[in-house]
């Protein structure tokens, strides 16, 4: 086990580097550069400004030199400054990370806390009306694109029903307060949460069914409700394994998946930041966000694999 972990850690380093190289190359492959992003088409063209920008960001250097320079700086903690605002990339990325994690983390919590009980219910009453209704409603939330759910939700719950504020993380001009923050959080988290709800519902249901469906019915009939509940608890423990793995696998998404929702709601997280970075061809910002993404993926995948290997002794990696 220990050797496995150590070996994984060692391998992660070249993987990490590989990710940075490939992303760096891709940014260079993208059509246009910072120059093209900064110059506004409507006002004509300014070659002197272009020359200055190229010089400033070293865009005329060969690609490998630029990469090495970036790598050298990053290893010293110097992630550079954003093209758009000149703010330091490291603080921007940390800010975005915090905001993204809050949003997607809450969505996941919602998904778990609603999806799992619904899944249990659905399993216990398989093929019943309740089962159909619950699965149907949850799936409704994942069958429409998030920008539509977002705008529609803002329109319905924000404008028409005045239940939630319209976008942003806090009310502008007011003192930061937790309740206000929650009111801003609830709609985007709910929309994102639908996806998690659907999955956790589905898999809880499957896992429980797998073990106890028949026995549950029989036990309930013979031993009464309490016996059945005990059995259910046992079945639930079985469901824990896939659920935990699911959580582990979802963690990377917490970082960068909610691009559309963040954009619609104006939630300043990493997803939004990545979009802005790409629009600006801001390679320093994109690399900064990628670092966070890559780190999260590597760590969570490793944890999951370790958990898996630990769980089933037959599956050892040699």
């Amino acid at each position: 086990m220990i050797t496995f972990i150590i070996r994984r850690l060692l391998v992660s380093i070249p993987v990490f580097l590989g990710i940075t190289v490939i992303v760096f190359v891709f940014i260079a492959l993208a059509p246009g550069s910072i120059v093209d992003a900064l110059l506004r088409p409507e006002l004509g063209y300014d070659p002197a400004a272009e020359a200055a920008i190229i010089k400033r960001y070293g865009l005329d250097q060969p690609l490998h030199i630029r990469y090495i320079r970036w790598l050298a700086n990053s290893l010293q903690g110097e992630l550079g400054y954003r093209v758009a605002s000149g703010a330091p990339v490291s603080s921007e990325v940390l800010r975005g990370l915090k905001n993204s994690t809050t949003l997607t983390g809450t969505a996941m919590l919602l998904g778990i806390s609603i999806g799992i009980p619904l899944g249990v219910l659905s399993a216990v009453r398989q093929y019943s009306k309740a089962d159909f209704v619950l699965t149907g409603v949850t799936f409704l939330g994942i069958s429409l694109p998030s920008f539509m759910l977002g705008l529609g939700g803002l329109y319905l719950f924000g404008l028409k029903l005045r239940l939630v504020p319209i976008g942003g993380m806090m009310t502008i001009g007011k003192e930061p307060n937790f309740l206000d923050f929650l009111r801003h959080l609830v709609l985007p988290a709910l929309i994102l949460g639908f996806g998690y709800m659907a999955i956790f519902l589905r898999y809880t249901r499957a896992a429980i069914l797998e073990v106890v469906h028949l026995d549950y019915i029989m036990t309930a009939r013979s031993k009464g409700v309490t016996g059945a509940v005990v059995l259910l608890r046992h079945a639930f423990r079985n469901a824990l394994i896939p659920i935990i793995t699911l959580i582990g696998l979802s963690i990377p998404e917490v970082v960068g998946a909610a691009v559309v929702t963040e954009t619609v709601f104006g939630w300043p997280g990493l997803g939004m930041m990545m979009v802005e970075g790409i629009q600006d061809r801001d390679f320093l910002l994109i690399m900064g966000v990628t670092l966070v993404l890559a780190l999260t993926v590597l760590v969570s995948n490793m944890l999951t694999d370790v958990a898996y290997a630990y769980a089933d002794p037959r599956i050892r990696y040699n």
Binding site: P14, G18, I19, I22, V23, F26, L29, A30, T104, G111, Y127, F139, L140, I142, S143, L144, P145, S146, F147, M148, Y155, L192, F194, G195, A198, I199, R202, Y203, A206, A207, E210, V211, H213, L214, I241, P242, T245, L246, L249, S250, E253, G256, A257, A258, V259, T263, M274, V275, I278, I286, L293, V297, L298, N301, T304, Y308, D312, I315, Y317, N318
Partner: protein, 313 residues
């Protein structure tokens, strides 16, 4: 999982679900295939789903491309609600085009993109996953780390660059989506294969001396068909919604070719969202029906393949 966002871990659980999920060839009696079919047929929602899908596909095939693209830029023809103009059952859009025709043809595009891109993604995922899982060792290590790289790649950047390099167009879009979604499948398949590899009957076969290829074809593949099929089914539903999200970022199917995704894009104008509801309700309804149907079919398939979940035999 924000399945309508940029990722799906639909089948994630199967990665570590105990091998009991994997179907093993059982004792005599009704063939397992037959039994699976029986279980599927019991899942009423799945049947409904199947029928719905069939109907939608049928409609998509007979829809008229020309009707979907013909504009009518005359006063009194643009933005007409349903029933106002004779012959335009669902009304017209801002350019006087027939909403009904566009919705139907849009379905054709969306479904085609979904089917093909999922095929590609499942194909690549299976090849990589089986290779990694079966061969193990450093091949496994290398391949799975490559999968890690793909998973940590910022999706939008990838899509943007790929779109730029290979151009706009349906075929390119299919390739792009396939390329973006295969990594999950690879991880799942590989997990399954690894679980299988350690099982007794594989050991037995190895002792007998069956060649690797034979092993994969006859023992491994049939036993991963189940999670594979389920993954693909949910994948189709996800891609349909994913394509719509891509339209929001300007990366989806390019108009004037309609797709359910870019038809929904009109909801970005509040006026349309609130007043010209006939512009987006038809494609929205179709997407919902289709995704629900596919999800129910997927559920049914999974129940069917999972031996112990149904109270029969």
């Amino acid at each position: 999982m924000p399945t309508h966002g940029f990722d799906t871990t639909e089948m994630a659980v199967s990665e570590v679900a105990p091998p009991s999920v994997v179907q093993i060839v059982g004792p005599v009696g009704v063939s397992p295939g037959r039994r699976a079919l029986g279980r599927f047929l019991r899942h009423r929602l799945a049947i409904v789903g199947l029928i719905t899908i069939g109907l939608i596909i049928l409609l998509a095939i007979i829809g008229s491309q020309e009707a979907a693209l013909t504009m009518n830029l005359k006063m009194g023809f643009t933005n007409q609600p349903p029933g106002k103009l004779p012959g335009y059952l669902l009304g017209t859009d801002a350019l006087g085009r027939d909403i009904l025709a566009r919705t139907i043809v849009g379905g054709r595009v969306s479904i085609l993109v979904a089917l093909f891109s999922v095929s590609i993604s499942t194909g690549i995922g299976t090849i990589v996953g089986v290779t990694a899982g079966y061969l193990g060792g450093w091949v496994d290590l290398a391949l799975m780390r490559f999968v890690d790289i793909v998973l940590s790649f910022p999706v939008i950047l990838l899509l943007l660059v790929v779109a730029y390099l290979i151009g706009p167009g349906l075929v390119q879009m299919i390739l792009m989506i396939g390329f973006v979604t295969w990594a999950r499948g690879a991880r799942i398949i590989r997990g399954q294969v690894v679980a299988l590899r350690e099982m007794a009957f594989i050991e037995a076969a190895r002792v007998i001396g069956i060649s690797d290829i034979r092993m994969v074809m006859t023992h491994i593949l049939p036993n991963i068909i189940a999670p594979l099929v389920v993954f693909a089914t949910f994948g189709v539903a996800n891609v349909i919604v994913f394509e719509a999200s891509l339209s929001y970022l300007g990366l989806g199917v390019q108009p004037p070719t309609p797709s359910w995704g870019n038809l929904l894009h009109v909801t970005r104008v509040v006026s349309v969202l609130e007043r010209h509801t006939w512009l987006w309700v038809p494609p929205a309804t179709m997407i919902v029906l289709m995704v629900l149907a596919v999800n129910f079919v997927g559920d049914g398939l999974r129940d069917a393949f999972d031996q112990r979940s149904v109270s029969d035999d």
